[in-house]
Symmetry: C2
Subunit: 349 residues, 2 copies
DNA sequence: AATAAGAATGCAAACGTTTTCATAAAACCA
DNA sequence: TGGTTTTATGAAAACGTTTGCATTCTTATT
């Protein structure tokens, strides 16, 4: 029983095998398909492994196998209420499937995204989820060549080029606009993050435009305002707006911007919703509890994250944008207390 | 030039070597230590690799190597303002060092943590960061056996058993309590998350107690209140408090709870800080912009995340809690606008 | 009880790199 | 320019598993 020196002093599969009096092959089988090894052998191996404190090396297995048990997730940013819930759900579900998650952020830089995907590929991920529908072809090609399934999470479009699981952001924008219109608002400010590389925001904005157009409301250019995804910046911009020529309602591209808008109103003592209606999109943590509670549409981040994880784990081949590979997970309009009729129309109420 | 069928149709190192007219060994060297291969050869390899779209398989290398280029990060939860900034910073810094991050959450369940660490070890991480100072010995032993460096992030204690990088949470608690005391508050409510498995929260609470005791203020039992890390719950609890026997100030274990407290005050029209002083700990996103802006102490999540990443990447051996392996990253008291003198003492001001 | 069929196990060859050692090619020095 | 040192490359043996095939042990069938 001479000690078979292994890399770090940690026991390998052969040491476990020796101790259990079986071959390495059997130990391997014990871990991968326990049912095909007989109970007595199984027990001996189990004991040997636990005595030795054996931890298998999945990398070595992966070399031979097709699968590494690791999934990639590429997001614009982690530190951000939008994605945190999705990431958490994705990760938890992966854990249930005995997989791990390799995650990286590109800060809305699509060219960095291809570098990241390359780096993930070097680590042999079994699949990868990305956020949104627009990506560099280079990324997609690398993945396709290696037959690694990709899934676009978060946004849904019926005509998506990629398989996707997400919410209908166009519809979300449409719904919040409708809500404002139904309350008699005609002068509405649209506060959105930059839509250039952000199909989610851009779809929402289109949805809002669409509802507005249907209602015969034309939006003057100065009523659509760019703001970063940042409470402070939104607050400041809305502050300016309140001082010169405020609209009667603010349609915010996401709840963070809406929070900023509410704070700006607090600061200037304009009361929400009596003097200013505010509506968001997303239903982030805090939106239910801020004062006034924010009317918004709940984007089901958790369910999306879980579905994406499930799909990725059970995808044995490349996911293609055919039937069944685009899934819309429904969002829900949440009426709370930040919207009412505009002051001028209050009498009509 | 017969095609050397590789696993997924993707080229391997030998195909690149063939095409460049060199041996696989040279290609390997090209990727790992480019300087030791001559310029002309280098160019041929570079071209061959890019023509073929070669992506190296780091797993195969890791098998031979000691290092995988992947670090683990184990957090209580991802979906949480506390950690998101740290995670993001850690991940970004890792990316700079050409490493990737395997992350998992255990939801404050220490026994799940050991399973997670085991699973990370199966993936051959080069090092791992965990949150906080208290962990199962099983986890620590597994890591020690395999000589995998561990770093406790987020909390600092001069007498920590583990190497740690973090803020002095005791001091943070002490400082916010002092601030309240200096403003003449004697009747202070302490709102804290459960401190049982949370050394950060528990250190803060101890710090607050310590300052209070020094000032000769004894805290009646009913003034220290448990609340989850949740805006909604904090808001509700503070709501009750405001209706029966409110203190003059609320010391909140973290900013999230403080946000809930502020919203509760808004809801009942008690104005902050005139009628109620509120102080937090953390300086999360939004704390600077909420109305009133929250007085708090800034915990340098970003710097902690970065330092942890750096240390882990350059640790060639197990980190031990000796000099240099405990680093305190300073936090900063941020005075904003949510604390003033209590109503009864206003005249003294 | 003998035999066939089936189930469990062992042997050894992969998996795609890195690395040691040996060798060939360049560079250096007089 | 010939010898010597240095530098660049190649051949082949690892790294720790999994798996196809061959073998042995069980179990079922008659």
């Amino acid at each position: 029983m001479k000690r078979q020196r292994t890399r770090k002093g940690a026991p390998g599969i052969i040491e476990v095998a020796q101790r259990a009096g079986v071959s390495a092959a059997t130990v391997s089988r014990f871990f991968n398909t326990p049912d095909i090894v007989r109970a007595p052998t199984r027990n001996r191996i189990e004991k040997a492994a636990s005595d030795l404190g054996y931890i298998r090396d999945r990398m070595a297995g992966t070399l031979h196998n097709r699968f590494s048990g690791t999934m990639g997730l590429v997001v614009p940013t982690i530190d951000n209420a939008i994605f945190a819930e999705l990431i958490e759900a994705f990760s938890a579900r992966l854990q249930q499937h005995d997989r791990t998650m390799l995650i990286a952020a590109h800060g809305y830089d699509l060219s960095l995204e291809v570098a990241i995907i390359r780096s993930l590929l070097e680590r042999r991920i079994d699949g990868v989820a990305v956020i949104g529908l627009t990506h560099e072809t280079a990324s997609l090609e690398m993945l396709a060549t290696r037959n690694v399934p990709v899934l676009a999470a978060w946004n849904y479009r019926p005509d998506s080029q990629m398989p996707c699981i997400g919410a209908d952001n166009f519809d979300a924008g449409y719904q919040v606009a409708r809500h404002l219109i139904e309350h008699g608002h005609r002068d509405i400010g649209l506060l959105f993050p930059p839509t250039a590389f952000n199909d989610r925001a851009s779809d929402r904005l289109q949805g809002a435009f669409s509802a507005l157009a249907e209602a015969g409301i034309s939006v003057p250019r100065h009523r659509v305002i760019d703001t970063q995804y940042d409470i402070g910046e939104a607050k400041q911009i809305v502050g300016h707006l309140l001082e010169n020529d405020p609209p009667t309602a603010l349609l915010c591209g996401n709840d963070i911007i809406a929070h900023g808008a509410i704070y700006a109103c607090h600061l200037r003592h304009v009361s929400v919703p009596q003097d200013m209606s505010i509506i968001g999109i997303g239903d982030f943590r805090g939106s239910a509890h801020i004062e006034p509670p924010l009317t918004t549409v709940r984007l089901p981040a958790r369910r999306i994250g879980e579905s994406v994880a499930d799909q990725l784990c059970f995808a044995d081949t490349v996911l293609r944008p055919e039937k069944g590979n685009r899934v819309l997970v429904p969002s829900r309009f949440i009426r709370r207390n930040s919207v009412t009729f505009p002051p001028s129309a209050a009498k009509q109420q």
